[in-house]
């Protein structure tokens, strides 16, 4: 416990590790997007068939809860995945505590969420993670295609939000220990985004663009 609470660990995580994290996150993300587009250029039948208008329509269609047929078929899943994803993207950006850190280091700050909103939203994300884990264990269809890495992704998200939340309320572990854990998980998550299937955050837009362009050619909607 001593080490977890130590100022040395905190300094490391808040110092060099933050730099390493953001460099891997940003450079890695650009690299992943760049290599995919580059490969697509070599495959003669991909880029000429991309229909930007259809792609934009498709992104909006699938990013609106309950707009597509499959979102409507799975109301619980849809509710949780949208609470989870909006939370995981917007909460860290607009969190007061994170903003304070940006302000401390760079002197910049922006609009922030109220404490209640941030708390409730974080709880939704945590429940969403538990729901995903439950599905992977109890739904035989999902269980059959689940690999360990799928659990790892959900647990990374779960622990990041759980430890952030617990640190804020200073429950269970001493504040400094919980905060160190939180920062560690947050950094693991950011690093994992370009290195693992969490890249879906970017690839979502490419794969949808491809299928939307196909369905535009067939003159059907993409459900």
């Amino acid at each position: 416990m001593g080490f977890l609470e130590s100022v040395a660990l905190y300094n490391f995580l808040r110092g060099p590790m933050v730099w390493i994290t953001f460099i891997i996150f940003i450079v890695g993300s650009i690299y992943r997007i760049y290599t995919l587009i580059n490969l697509a250029k070599k495959e003669k039948v991909v880029l000429p068939f991309i229909n930007i208008k259809a792609a934009i329509k498709s992104w909006l269609h699938w990013l609106i809860p309950f707009a597509s047929r499959n979102w409507r078929l799975k109301p619980y899943f849809t509710t949780f995945t949208f609470l989870f994803h909006t939370g995981i993207v917007f909460v860290p950006i607009f969190l007061y505590a994170h903003n304070a850190l940006w302000y401390e280091s760079w002197g910049i700050s922006w609009w922030t969420l109220s404490e209640t909103v941030a708390d409730v939203w974080s709880i939704f994300v945590i429940i969403g993670c538990l729901f995903f884990i439950g599905r992977r264990i109890f739904d035989p269809t999902v269980r059959f295609v689940t690999s360990y890495s799928d659990f790892v992704f959900v647990f990374i998200c779960l622990f990041t939000f759980l430890t952030g939340f617990l640190a804020h309320y200073q429950w269970i572990l001493p504040y400094r220990a919980m905060l160190n854990l939180h920062i560690m998980f947050g950094e693991i998550m950011l690093i994992a985004i370009p290195l693992t299937r969490l890249t879906h955050m970017y690839y979502f837009f490419f794969t949808r663009a491809w299928m939307a362009s196909q369905t535009a050619i067939w003159k059907i909607k993409d459900w």
């Binding site: 490969l39 697509a40 991909v46 999902v142 295609v145 879906h200």
Partner: protein, 288 residues
């Protein structure tokens, strides 16, 4: 006696040695059972390299995006009509075929090739519905098509599909119909149709038309009345149209596409387009 039969039927199941969940009735199909005996690890790896060896954007995007959420399952008629058996879900089919091959870099034995061929040829219709249910719009059908290509290169294809492909290689249609037989059928249908619509014509190889109609070969062969029905519709609608009889390229079904025999598939498509171009037709109409 009857009871005995039932029991022996129950025992006749096939269980994959790679995926214990994959349990199916035992069947005998020489296109699968006999052809896998000819495989060697080198042949399998070579076929794998030919299809999956080069990294391409589409394979990469699909494999590195799929989050294994199982949402595509709801789309698949195989999944729905088999009591939601997990092994019929689209993503499960990709898992048991392409992922397994890629995980082992093509170093697999003939048993897996059997499972793979059975899955991609007999448990997926290449209908694309799963792509419309996947939140990422992943092109699962494209992956299934690649795996079919892998099986085709190894010659492991269900007998009936392979047979049909050979029919196309020999006659360019799927029912062994000769050119003279085809022409004869069209004349016959014209005559039949005339009893119902006066002056009915089935134009052949007419140049400069608006529409050229390529039927499925099953129409002249087993549903010949289709021909005069369509002819009546064209004639009453006042469409300037024609059928093609000048060579063997008139069947639009192109079954070689389904087993990914690219050579024969291209020959058919090229034949159809060249015929339409020769007649300077503005539109192609195909039966589906």
């Amino acid at each position: 006696m009857a009871i005995k039969l039932e029991i022996s039927e129950e025992k006749e199941v096939y269980r994959s040695s790679y995926f214990p969940e994959y349990v199916r009735p035992k069947i005998y199909d020489p296109g699968l059972d006999e052809t896998i005996k000819r495989l060697t690890p080198e042949k399998i790896e070579k076929a794998y390299q030919a299809v999956f060896g080069k990294e391409t954007a589409r394979i990469k995007a699909i494999v590195e995006t799929c989050i294994h959420c199982g949402l595509c399952a709801e789309a698949c008629q195989w999944y729905l009509s088999n009591d939601r058996d997990p092994t019929y879900a689209p993503v499960a089919k990709v898992k048991m075929t392409a992922w397994e091959l890629m995980k082992r870099k093509g170093k697999v034995d003939a048993g897996l090739v059997y499972d793979i061929a059975r899955i991609v040829f007999t448990e997926c219709n290449i209908c694309h519905r799963c792509s419309l249910y996947c939140p990422f719009g992943l092109d699962i059908t494209f992956i299934i098509g690649l795996v079919r290509r892998f099986c085709f290169l190894l010659g492991v294809v269900p007998q009936r599909m392979f047979d049909q492909n050979q029919t196309f290689m020999a006659t360019a249609n799927q029912v062994w119909m000769s050119q003279s037989d085809y022409i004869d059928t069209l004349f016959w249908r014209e005559e039949e149709g005339m009893y119902e619509l006066k002056n009915l014509r089935i134009p052949m190889d007419k140049e400069g038309v608006e529409v050229v109609w390529f039927p499925l070969a099953a129409e002249p062969k087993t549903g010949p009345y289709h021909i005069d029905r369509i002819a009546k519709i064209f004639q009453v609608a006042g469409v300037d149209w024609t059928m093609v009889t000048m060579n063997d390229y008139w069947d639009s079904s192109n079954m070689p596409m389904f087993i990914r025999d690219f050579f024969t598939m291209q020959r058919i498509v090229k034949g159809l387009y060249e015929n339409a171009a020769r007649l300077r037709a503005k539109k192609l109409v195909l039966t589906e």
